[in-house]
Symmetry: C2
Subunit: 238 residues, 2 copies
């Protein structure tokens, strides 16, 4: 695409594409998201983003200071997909589970977010909206001040940890299952069987036939356990 041959004087220089909407943050983030969702963090380079936008490689830098800022914008954009059911509908617990599942689903759709979480404080409009709503939800549970902070971050940390491990699990090679891994390791595992019987029994019984159901069961188990633990710490209803 870059073969802009030394234009002869006779050929009129082509209309420099002003018909398209000029470059803007929205379109930049749109294109960045396509690359990120398709190929992950390493799939996004400023040059590829430039060609995707039919623009010069460094034109993006007029609208965005650097790549980190672009990633911040992209991260906040996908935070728009996270919803928090208001606690008045079904109580704080329904609200918390709805939030947790919504966040997990978003991470599954955009696995590249995992590395970015917590990299710097998320203060974009969507992130603050989600944060505000979760604080309201956990406030409806009776938590205040430090306990509110503790309860909220327990759920967030668990969801990010769980969904993150799930996501990076699948990110490796889309085709390979855990059974394939076990197959490929072969002799290494048989040697392991002698030294660590507990572990290799677990591998044989659980990991060897891992399915999507196990992922689901694991998350609901973890989430309900977390919420149960929070329930015990909740101040008595007023």
């Amino acid at each position: 695409m870059a073969e802009k041959a030394p234009v002869s004087v006779w050929t009129r220089p082509e209309r420099p594409r002003r018909d398209q909407p000029t470059l803007g943050r929205d379109q930049i983030v749109d294109a960045a998201l396509e690359l990120l969702d398709a190929e992950g963090l390493t799939g996004l380079s400023m040059r590829r983003l430039g060609t995707r936008l039919n623009s010069g490689a460094t034109s993006v830098y007029w609208h965005v200071a650097n790549k980190d800022e672009l990633l911040e914008l992209a991260l906040d954009r996908v935070m728009a997909e996270v919803t928090v059911p208001p606690p008045d509908d079904g109580g704080w617990r329904a609200s918390a589970t709805g939030y947790a599942r919504s966040l997990r689903a978003m991470i599954h759709r955009h696995p590249w977010t995992v590395t970015l979480f917590g990299g710097r404080p998320m203060i974009g409009p969507n992130a603050t909206r989600v944060l505000d709503e979760t604080l309201i939800a956990f406030g409806a549970a009776g938590f205040t001040d430090l306990d509110l902070e503790y309860a909220w971050s327990l759920v967030v940390d668990y969801v990010i940890g769980a969904a993150g491990s799930e996501a990076s699990w699948q990110r490796g090679q889309p085709g390979t299952t855990s059974a394939d891994w076990i197959e490929a390791l072969g002799p290494y595992l048989t040697r392991l069987a002698e030294e660590r019987p507990t572990l290799s029994a677990h591998i044989r019984d659980v990991w060897a036939n891992e399915t999507g159901d196990i992922l689901e069961g694991r998350f609901t188990f973890g989430l309900t356990s977390v919420l149960d633990g929070l329930e015990a710490r909740r101040p008595p209803a007023r």
Copy 2:
């Protein structure tokens, strides 16, 4: 066509060393750890590693297939620092808390590990040792089969999520506290105060005076909540 690619580091024996302390996996991983701990993932480049070892830039590639494999070795090396107290001493709960705190402390010492967790299955000797010991610990709690998997991964996911967010929090700029952040954001926050009163009250009351104590309190709150939730799901002792 490329049939030899997907073999993992652990299956291939270390290339036999000749005589003197020339380059070896141990020294390579040592030097890599120095760079990683000092400057994080981006601080480790093969060229810097080469000069650190007083060797050519690409000499490392004789001992290690690529950079990912080197990171796998480094990750397993630091997993040696994680200990799991045997459950017969103080019960499964003491064992689980000891493991969780040990893992968290390791992540704090080596924040670059967070990105690597779950990237690919951790099957190095130290990782498998830790995994085996934790399975034994949670098995002592009475969990079996799928529940064992669920219970174990709940704790792991929470610890990685919590410690990961703590670690990347500090990784930004070692000097800046959260109060500095709030200070720097200034007018953005005052505008936020009108739209989202709950959130800005929380910022003012909790985050503005964040100290190390809050981090500690948050983790113990989260961990005890998680273990309480697990206790409720534990099969009755026999």
